[in-house]
C-alpha cells in the first residue's frame, strides 16, 4: 500500500489529474452553499457584459452571472456522470462477471448482447429516448448508462477470463468452492484495478456526453444551469460576447482532462506491466 501511495505521488499525470478533479468536486460542493450571484437571477440591463470586478466571468444574454452558472452547472455534470457510470458499472460488471463465471451459452448470450449494443451510440440512444420520454436529465443518464453497460461487461469478462485461467483460481476450485463464490472472492478483487481505471475514463466520457446532449437540447433543460446548454446559448452571441463560449468549454475540457489523467495515471500505477510501456 505504501508503495502504491509513493508511486502515485510521484506520477505526474496522476497529480495533475487529481488536482483538477479535486477542483471540480470542491467547486460543485461550494456551489451547493454559495455562488457569487444566483445562477438563475435575470438582469437584462447587464446582459452580455464581459468579465468585470462585479461579474468575474461576465454575464450572458439574460444578464445571468456566468461564474455562478458554471459553478452550479458542475453539479449536473457530476451527478449525470456518477449515475451513468454507476448504472454501467453495476449492470455491466454483473453481466461480465456472470459471463465469465458460467461460460457456455450464458457467456455467448451476454457477449452477443453487448456486441449488439455497440450499434447504438449515445446520441442515437438519446434521440430514441427523447422521442419516447421527451428531453431531460434522466434521458442523459439512461443513454450514457446504457452505453456504458456493454463496455463494462466486455472489460469485466476479458479481465475475469484471464483471472479464471490463473492457477490460484484453480487452487480455490480444488478446495471445493463454487464458481460464484470464487468470482467474488478471487476474481473480482483482482480485476478491480482495471475496472477503476475504466470507470474513471468513462466518467470523463459521461461528462463530455452530457454536455453534448444538453447542447443539443436532449439533456438537461433550462432553467437548470448546465455547461452544454450554456454553450448552446453562447453560440448565438459568439460574435458579440466570445467569453460566453470560452469559459463553459474550458470548464468541460479541464474536468474531462482531469479525470482522463487520473485514469491514465491509475493504469500506470495499478498495472506495472503496462506502466513499463510508457
Amino acid at each position: 500500500m505504501s508503495t502504491f501511495l509513493k508511486n502515485a505521488s510521484m506520477h505526474r499525470s496522476l497529480m495533475i489529474g487529481g488536482v483538477l478533479t479535486l477542483l471540480l468536486l470542491s467547486v460543485a460542493v461550494l456551489s451547493l452553499f454559495w455562488t457569487p450571484w444566483s445562477p438563475t437571477a435575470i438582469d437584462i440591463a447587464n446582459k452580455l457584459k464581459g468579465p468585470s470586478a462585479k461579474h468575474w466571468l461576465g454575464t450572458d444574454h439574460l444578464g445571468r452571472d456566468v461564474l455562478s452558472m458554471l459553478m452550479s452547472g458542475s453539479q449536473i455534470s457530476i451527478i449525470v456522470g456518477f449515475l451513468a457510470v454507476s448504472v454501467g458499472l453495476l449492470v455491466g460488471v454483473a453481466l461480465g462477471a456472470l459471463a465469465s463465471t458460467y461460460r457456455g451459452w450464458v457467456e455467448e448470450l451476454i457477449m452477443r448482447m453487448s456486441d449488439f449494443s455497440i450499434a447504438f451510440p449515445i446520441i442515437i440512444t438519446a434521440v430514441l429516448l427523447t422521442a419516447i420520454l421527451g428531453p431531460g436529465t434522466v434521458n442523459s443518464i439512461l443513454a450514457i448508462g446504457l452505453f456504458n453497460i456493454p463496455i463494462f461487461a466486455r472489460i469485466t469478462r476479458g479481465a475475469a477470463n484471464a483471472a479464471w485461467a490463473r492457477e490460484y483460481v484453480m487452487a480455490a476450485q480444488t478446495c471445493g468452492k463454487g464458481r460464484l463464490r470464487i468470482t467474488i472472492e478471487h476474481v473480482l478483487p483482482n480485476i478491480s484495478g482495471a475496472l477503476i481505471v475504466q470507470a474513471t475514463i468513462l466518467f470523463a466520457v459521461a461528462i463530455l456526453a452530457e454536455a453534448a446532449l444538453s447542447f443539443l437540447g436532449l439533456g438537461t433543460q433550462p432553467p437548470e444551469p448546465s455547461w452544454g446548454k450554456m454553450l448552446n446559448n453562447a453560440q448565438t452571441f459568439v460574435g458579440l460576447a466570445p467569453h460566453l463560449a470560452i469559459f463553459p468549454g474550458l470548464a468541460i475540457a479541464l474536468s474531462v482532462m482531469g479525470l482522463n489523467l487520473i485514469g491514465d495515471g491509475l493504469r500506470d500505477v495499478l498495472d506495472p506491466k503496462l506502466a513499463r510501456a510508457r
Binding site: 463530455l208 447542447f215 459568439v238 475540457a253 510501456a277
Partner: protein, 316 residues
Amino acid sequence: MIAFLLRRIATFLATLAIASAVIFAALELLPGDPAQIMLGIDAPPDALEALQKKLGVDRPVVERYFTWIGGLVVGDMGESFTYVMPVSDLIMTRLGVTLPLALLAALISVLIGVPVGLYAAANHKTPRDYGVMIFGQLGIAIPNFWFAILLVLVFSIYLGWFPAGGFPGWDAGFWPAIKALILPAFSLAIVEAAIFARISRSAVLDVLREDFVRTARAKGLSRKSTLVKHVLRNAMIPIITICGLELSSLLVGTIVIEQVFNIPGLGRLVFQSLTQLDLMVVKNLIMLLVALVVFINLVVDLLYAVIDPRLKHQGH
C-alpha cells in the same frame, strides 16, 4: 476464410434484425398511439383517424413490423408527414451532405492522427513524444462542438476565411460547397485525430516490445527499417479497429456538428423530425444510422482478415 466471411455477414444481418425490432418496439409500441403523438393532443379527430389509417395503427403489430422491414428492403421508407415526400428521398438528399462531411473528417483525422502517433512512437520518451501526448490529452478532453464554436470565432468572425454556417448545396459548385464543409470537418477531425494519434502511438509501442522486433534488429535492420518493415503492419491491426469504431463515432458526431454549423444533413433532419415528432422519419433515420454503424464494424472485421494471416487459417 469463406466460412469466416459468411459467419460475419450472418452476424451482421442478425444484428440489423434485432436492432430494427428494438427501434420499432421503442417508437411504435411503448409510447401509445403514434398518430396522437405526432399530431398533438388537440388534433382534429378526422385528421387523427386519417393518419392512423396511413400508419396502419389498426393492423396487428407483427404485420406492421414486417411491412416496414419489407419496405426497407426495397428502399421504401414510407412518407414523411411534415415534408410530404418519401422518407427515402428525403434521407438520400441529406445523406449527400452528411456522408461527404463524415468522409472528409475521417480523411483529415487519419492523415493527421496516424502519422503523428507513429512519429511520437518513433521518438518515444523525447520532448516530441511528450508534445504529442499533450495534444492527445487535449484532443480527448475538448468537446467537438466547443471546438467548432472556437473555429467559427477565429476563422469566420475574426478572419472571415470561411462561412460561419449553412451549406450552399452541391448545385452551387464544388468549391463553395467544400468551403462550407471545411470548418465542420476540421472541428470533427482534430478531436478524432488526437485519439488516432494516441492509439497509433501505443499500438506501435506494443509491437515494438514483441520478440520478433528483436529478431529483426538481430538481423541487422536499423531502427527505422525495423519500424517500417516489421512493426507497422502488425500495429495496423489495432489501429484499423479503432479507425472503424471512430468512423462510426464521426458519423454520429456529424449530428452535433451539423447543429453548430446549420448544415442541412442527416443530423439536422434528426432534430427537425424530432421536434416535429415526425416518427416515420425518426424511425427510418435511426435505423439507417444504426445500419451504417454496424456496417462499418463489419468492414473493419473483414479488413482484419486481410491484414492478419492468422485469421485466414483459423477459420474463426
